[in-house]
């Protein structure tokens, strides 16, 4: 899926015991990058970093891809 202003991602849930952990997966090359939030915030902390205007040009540059 593609949220407005964001790079494409898939939403899924990972199960921990009877509880569900929300995961956003932006596909890309290995190795994966796991972005973690602190408190009092959540995944939106990385919204600006994952805007196409920020990350796509960098991912296309020589070196690592996102």
């Amino acid at each position: 899926m593609m949220a407005e202003g964001m790079m494409a991602y898939q939403e899924t849930f990972v199960q921990r015991d009877q509880h569900r952990i929300y995961v956003r997966d932006h596909s890309g090359t290995e190795p994966a990058i796991i972005l973690m939030h602190g408190f009092p915030d959540n995944v939106h902390l990385y919204d600006r970093l994952l805007r196409p205007s920020v990350s796509l040009p960098l991912a296309a540059a020589p070196g690592r891809a996102i």
Binding site: I21, Y22, P31, V43, H44, D47, R64
Partner: protein, 237 residues
């Protein structure tokens, strides 16, 4: 990829759950295991420092790189909590702060959140967009408030207990980048330098003028530094 720890954002928020740093290691482990990840770069900000570093120290062979963004782990000379976090994490003080913050339908809590989190962001237009967005989880049902209060209770014990891990940090031999906004008065440049001292071979990047939410203040610089992480073979021995 990104995920919300239990108690936050779109993840479940079970009542009475032990929202602690120790338990967050299990959240991270569940994500890694169930998504079948091999090697990966761990990027920790703020309170995700302890679970990310704990996991990395326990499984160094799985870590392609570790990135620390304005975070904390153990006792350090210049480390100090933001004002609201001090209020809710200090024993005795917090037992007064919690009920007071709930008064007037959580009006005081909301005001404090907007002021404190607003101070984590440098630019007014970014602040206007993201403070309300991040606060939504506190107005939601169930709310992120129990996780917030429990993690505050856990803050001092977490930092104190990780101090005995400093020798392990000094033995960690994977690529590490320490990227801190240098205008953060709490998880500050002194904390970044201490991490740099504790983690041999780490690279230190201080971003001028960026606040606590360095990835919101300077997303291009942070993205560039994460994507340009050196490979695992280039960590100094």
């Amino acid at each position: 990829m990104l995920f919300d720890f239990l108690g936050w954002g779109s993840s479940d928020k079970p009542s009475g759950y032990p929202y602690t740093a120790d338990n967050q290691v299990g959240d991270l482990d569940a994500v890694i295991t169930q998504l079948g990840l091999g090697q990966f770069v761990l990027v920790a900000h703020d309170a995700s420092g302890p679970p990310a570093i704990d996991w990395a120290l326990a499984h160094p062979e799985r870590v392609a790189g570790l990135v620390l963004l304005n975070t904390y782990y153990c006792e350090m000379p210049t480390l100090r909590p933001p004002e609201a976090i001090w209020l809710f994490s200090t024993p005795v003080i917090r037992s007064v702060a919690r009920p007071v913050s709930r008064m007037f339908g959580n009006w005081l809590f909301r005001r404090m959140y907007w002021w404190q989190v607003g101070s984590f962001i440098r630019d007014a237009d970014v602040r206007r967009e993201f403070v309300p967005l991040l606060y939504q989880q506190f107005d939601a049902t169930p709310s992120a408030r129990p996780a917030f209060f429990r993690l505050n209770e856990d803050l001092l014990p977490t930092v104190q207990s990780r101090t005995q891990m400093i020798s392990k940090l000094k033995e960690f031999r994977r690529p590490v980048r320490i990227i801190f906004g240098d205008a953060d008065p709490s998880l500050n440049s002194g904390v970044a330098r201490t991490f740099h001292e504790f983690l041999p071979g780490s690279e230190l990047f201080l971003i001028p003028g960026a606040q606590h939410f360095v990835q919101l203040d300077e997303p291009e610089q942070v993205a560039r530094l994460i994507l340009a992480m050196p490979g695992p073979g280039s960590a100094s021995a």
